[in-house]
């Protein structure tokens, strides 16, 4: 282990060390303000370390056989840290409601971030497994964190059973792959060699499929999406934000790393023996199903969290398009598209959940429906602007980040000549407009203001909160108008 290697995993080391220090800090003094400040400091430090690493790192760097640090993973980790900063800030608003000191929450949050960080840098099934479990077990604890709430047991039990099932599927897949290839690294590509016997390739294919099913569970892709809305609704809002951003980004990045390290999976050779095509086709089926099912089921949702759950299913479906590349040359474009789309998705989701949490605090109602946002524009302009920018970006209206992200995806799909995926993307976006615009119409609706006045205290935001709302709006608008600001970063990777 050279100094350079230690430097390249410094962001992870900072978070890991931060967890130990936080435990000591709790032993010394239990104070929620202290632990919050400490957690946020750690995230900021790790983010600074990743940014400095991103500037210095020119080439992908193998750190032992377990990890491979490259700028794509680094950027994803920065996104993850940014989202968790937002989670930390939002959760304070919610945790002050009860008298206890909630220091465990922040330890769990740091564990989730560490797991996600290991995932995005892993290059080996063992580190993938460790990161995956750190992420999901800590998340189970967070989903059921508010013990008094009506749904906490139900949603955390559902999440526990489904994520445990998903990880067993994934592990069985890994065991099958390992039994045929004899190596746990991502990079071993068994199928590219010609002398594989049919039995070997059968088990290997079964392994890859089981692995992908496990990942699909976590990404809530269409046939495996049933847990998503229930868990999203039952979890505390800031934890839902964590589920929607951090765990999705980390799982998707690790899926891409696995996928692109095995050229035989995605490049459709003309001489192929049908089997290779099947993995490729499975992923397109997952993608098309997710886009259609997610968007269609979102149509009849009134609860905002459930609506966002279904829309996240659809967004993960759109993102799967980047896996459909036909040649190693387009892998770079695929990474750029994925990172841009993920940034747009994370920014929009953080914005929406921020508004959700703030309005929730105000109305003391944990089950917010779209109707509860009626007339928000006339009550609090800045929050309404934030919702509008975020929703338009999710819907992919021109001049927003989401549009550029979808454009990238279309580009990838055109290169790969996946006409079915393009059709599904367009149809899905069309359906999505109905419920996204429904939210925007609700914001401007004046009819219900009078009857709401009774239980709505006027929304008063602290200056700091107001400043962050304005910053998010500015980010959304600026990156929508000048996407080069972001895409310039990727070009140098």
């Amino acid at each position: 282990m050279t100094l350079l290697m230690i430097h390249s995993i410094s962001p992870l080391l900072i978070v890991a060390f931060g967890i130990v220090l936080s435990l000591l800090l709790i032993a010394w003094r239990r104070s929620q303000k202290l632990i919050l400040a400490f957690t946020l400091t750690i995230f900021v430090c790790a983010m600074l370390a990743s940014i400095s690493l991103m500037m210095n790192l020119t080439d992908a760097m193998q750190v032992t056989i377990l990890m491979k640090v490259d700028n794509y993973g680094n950027f994803a980790f920065i996104l993850i840290l940014a989202a968790s900063l937002a989670v930390g800030l939002l959760s304070t608003a919610w945790l002050t409601h009860s008298v206890e000191v909630h220091d465990e929450f922040f330890i769990l949050l740091q564990l989730v971030v560490l797991g996600a960080g290991i995932l995005v840098m892993s290059d080996h099934f063992a580190s993938l497994f460790l990161g995956f479990e750190l992420l999901s077990i800590a998340l189970v604890g967070m989903v059921g964190y508010s013990r008094d709430s009506q749904y906490s047991v139900e949603s955390s039990f559902k999440y526990l059973i489904l994520s445990a099932t998903a990880s067993s599927f994934m592990l069985l897949g890994i065991a099958f792959i390992y039994s045929q290839s004899g190596s746990l690294s991502f990079a071993t590509d068994l199928l590219s060699s010609n002398e594989v016997s049919p039995v070997i390739s059968l088990f290997h294919h079964a392994g890859v499929l089981l692995f992908l099913i496990g990942v699909a569970f976590k990404l809530s892709l269409a046939p495996f999406h049933f847990w998503t809305p229930d868990v999203y609704q039952g979890a505390p809002t800031s934890v839902t934000l964590l589920l929607a951003t951090v765990s999705k980004v980390a799982m998707f990045v690790v899926l891409m790393k696995f996928w692109f390290s095995q050229p035989s999976l995605f490049i459709q050779p003309i001489v192929s023996n049908g089997n290779t095509l099947s993995t490729f086709n499975f992923m397109s089926i997952f993608a098309i199903l997710s886009m259609l099912v997610g968007n269609t089921l979102a149509l009849k949702q009134q609860n905002i969290k459930r609506l966002l759950a279904y829309s996240s299913i659809a967004h993960m479906g759109y993102l799967l398009i980047v896996l459909m590349v036909l040649s190693p040359q387009s892998v770079v474009l695929a990474w750029q598209s994925a990172l841009f789309y993920l940034s747009a998705y994370v920014l929009a989701t953080v914005s929406l959940f921020m508004v959700l949490q703030l309005t929730q605090n105000n109305s003391c109602n944990t089950e917010l429906n779209v109707d509860d946002w009626q007339g928000l524009f006339w009550q609090k302009r800045s929050l309404a602007m934030l919702v509008i920018v975020a929703v338009l970006s999710l819907a992919g209206i021109p001049l927003t980040m989401g549009f550029i992200g979808k454009f990238y995806l279309l580009n990838v799909a055109f290169y790969a000549q996946q006409w079915w995926l393009i059709a599904a993307l367009i149809i899905g976006s069309g359906i999505a407009l109905v419920y996204y615009l429904g939210i925007i119409f609700a914001l401007f609706n004046t009819s219900s203001i009078d009857q709401h006045n009774g239980n709505y205290r006027p929304l008063k935001l602290k200056p700091l909160v107001n400043a962050s709302v304005v910053t998010l709006v500015a980010f959304g608008v600026a990156l929508g108008l000048y996407p080069e600001l972001l895409s310039q970063i990727f070009i140098n990777f």
């Binding site: 059921g144 906490s152 065991a175 099958f176």
Partner: protein
């Protein structure tokens, strides 16, 4: 001693895994669901150890130890939730956990 072929071990692991999976989806009692999850994880452990010994590597056994650790952590969280459930509903029937719909 004649060696057992690797494919037999993998088939055994798949059968065990399916038994566990059927248990997870068909059992009503949450305690038994957690136990079925253990069966699934241990089936994977069998596959890993078989594969590791076929390749004469320690990797399979290392993965098995990691899986054991995971199983312990998962059961710890699961049992905590189980106690919560027993306290609140005075029952471990999984069908009680179906309030979230829509």
């Amino acid at each position: 001693m004649s060696a057992i072929p690797l494919s037999h071990i993998l088939i055994l692991a798949s059968i065990l895994f399916s038994i566990g999976f059927v248990g997870v989806i068909s059992r009503k009692n949450t305690l038994f669901i957690l136990m079925s999850l253990e069966v699934m994880l241990n089936a994977v452990g069998v596959a890993f150890i078989g594969a590791g010994s076929a390749w004469h590597q320690a990797d399979g056994q290392v993965m098995f130890i990691l899986i054991l650790t995971l199983a312990a952590a998962e059961v710890a969280v699961g049992l905590a939730l189980l106690i919560q459930m027993q306290r609140r509903f005075k029952s471990l029937d999984i069908d009680l956990l179906s309030k979230l719909k829509g």
